[in-house]
Symmetry: C2
Amino acid sequence: MSSSVETPEEDVSVPGRITIRDVAKAAGVSIATASKALNDRGRMTPETRARIQTAARDLGFTPNAVARALVSQRSFTIGLLTNDTYGRFTLPVAAGLSAALIDRGVSVFLCAFQDDPEAARVNLRAMQDKCVDGLIIAGKRIDRGLPIELPRLSMPVVHVYSLCGDDDIGFMPDDRAGAALAVQHLIGLGRRRIAHVTGPLAFAAVAQRTEGWADALKAHGLAPFGAPLNGTWSEGFGYSVGQAWAALPPSERPDGVFCGNDQIARGVIDALTLAGLNVPRDISVVGFDNWSVFAEATRPPLTTIDMNLQEMGRQAGLVLLDMVEGLPVERGLRRLPCRLVTRQSCGVPPPA
Amino acid sequence: MSSSVETPEEDVSVPGRITIRDVAKAAGVSIATASKALNDRGRMTPETRARIQTAARDLGFTPNAVARALVSQRSFTIGLLTNDTYGRFTLPVAAGLSAALIDRGVSVFLCAFQDDPEAARVNLRAMQDKCVDGLIIAGKRIDRGLPIELPRLSMPVVHVYSLCGDDDIGFMPDDRAGAALAVQHLIGLGRRRIAHVTGPLAFAAVAQRTEGWADALKAHGLAPFGAPLNGTWSEGFGYSVGQAWAALPPSERPDGVFCGNDQIARGVIDALTLAGLNVPRDISVVGFDNWSVFAEATRPPLTTIDMNLQEMGRQAGLVLLDMVEGLPVERGLRRLPCRLVTRQSCGVPPPA
DNA sequence: CTCAACTGAGAAAACCTTTTCCCAAAGGGT
DNA sequence: ACCCTTTGGGAAAAGGTTTTCTCAGTTGAG
């Protein structure tokens, strides 16, 4: 035993972190055996294993994730890269993701950046340097990618609510079916003159939701009430549409509206209400997003479509994990179903 | 040269990551020298240093952050632990934090959990295992801590928008001064009968904002217009207050209102507007939070107080970094000034 | 010319864990 | 009794970087 290195008998002085060395010494075994015992690997008598595990527990040993990452080439960390600084889409996704992965010992690195490509590059680089095992790319619209090139990115990637090529793996809400759900609800309540007020044509989501609106009407033999009205995704736009309707004679107004998002829906309702009309008596309104801070605060509270973003995050996390572990994963886009959340902006829900 | 280990002359086969070994070999120096050259440490001829740096650039070398963390005992990662899953407070803070730290090579681990202490424990443990250099504890109210014990936490901690003991280091907005700013603005516009509608008494922020309201009135020799009205932090509460006011004769109504948050302000404005009153002509309204999705969508757009949460995140990050680097840091709470954002809910701003 | 001081650069330990051998002892069959 | 197999456990390398020594060579002064 050389005196320079091997005199750790009495090193009570340094209260630093407890390592597997300490566990091994306490249990009277070698480091290798300790490692195997703690990871349920290798062969040894049950007694030895138990002794080591007890020692680890008594000492409060937790393996150093950094050292483990260095040797295993896995950091048990995944990155979530997004340009949705507002968090409207990303936060629910992140919540589902974290919840799904934390049990498996995987943490999530969230990087939100403004749409500056340079910031994107820096953050992506940081993640690569830190050896994240995989990447979730999350956006705020389904027809745009992030301003980064992932050319020869050596790690698996899953796209969520963001553009996704045919060879990629991605998750999106089934906007079309979700929209149809909303319109079916209106029809089920007896509405027949169903309009559609939504966002800019440039958004793919707009086209898909409009298709869903048309689908549901057609399935029930109804004609669209006018052409879809496209504007901005804002309360202001909904408000102006509501004002215009309020100025018309009742026979020229819709009796049901499917709005492309909750903000537009709220604008419509506010304008109608201010003009003396009653929602839902005169017109039923359905939104899209189920952004609770809007949907619940609207008077009356908004019936709307929920995209199940949290579930989307959960599934994306599980698929990414499979990829990290080398399991085969089918490429392509997965569309997750949406869900109708009934509040009071449409009237009484139909009897079950 | 033993043949088993040292035959990396022709290892073009494995396209794996470029390490400092490769750089050293390319530059014809030892690993140690390469490391020193790349970190601007040690002594060597400028030519050697330049040669190594050029080689590193040509090869596209980036140091492996995991290996570096293992040896330096610093991960260049800080954790942001929060129970604000909605992100109203945490996202701006995180944005400021990230922006401030990314230049210094430090990334941010965001962990948001519901108020379940078990989840908190698991996430905290994960951060410890991953050797984050420091922790930001962010909450959603200033008078509550997170449901975790940080007893002998071996890393530095900074609290942001969350309870902070005398020996801790924390950041909060100066609610009192911010509230006074709002009321001064109303007074400057000629308002004299200034009411206050705000959240539940149980929140410390409510008391502080109420004090600011009283401060500013007193400084101008004005009496409070009635007692502060306490309710929930919701549009619904503001709406009911607005309805009540609208039913009163003008002489018994306030001519200016300072609201405890933007949602209450919006509720007040909506109710007044629906009752046929005009904001700001009949009553000026100021909010608090500058939650843009509310403030901008209100009709008229809301003049409100911004807590500068992003700046708070920035400063918290810089202080935490100082602590990580062992610099002396003054303990205690720092209150950051708020800022008035003028929109159209108060009328014309006073001439400068 | 000698010695000290300095200079540039490399060898090796250290960070902590996992994993691949390898070895000694014990057990079993003939 | 001998050999082979199994068993339990350990030694050592590997992962990529930083850092501390150490050392050979060079320079300058006396």
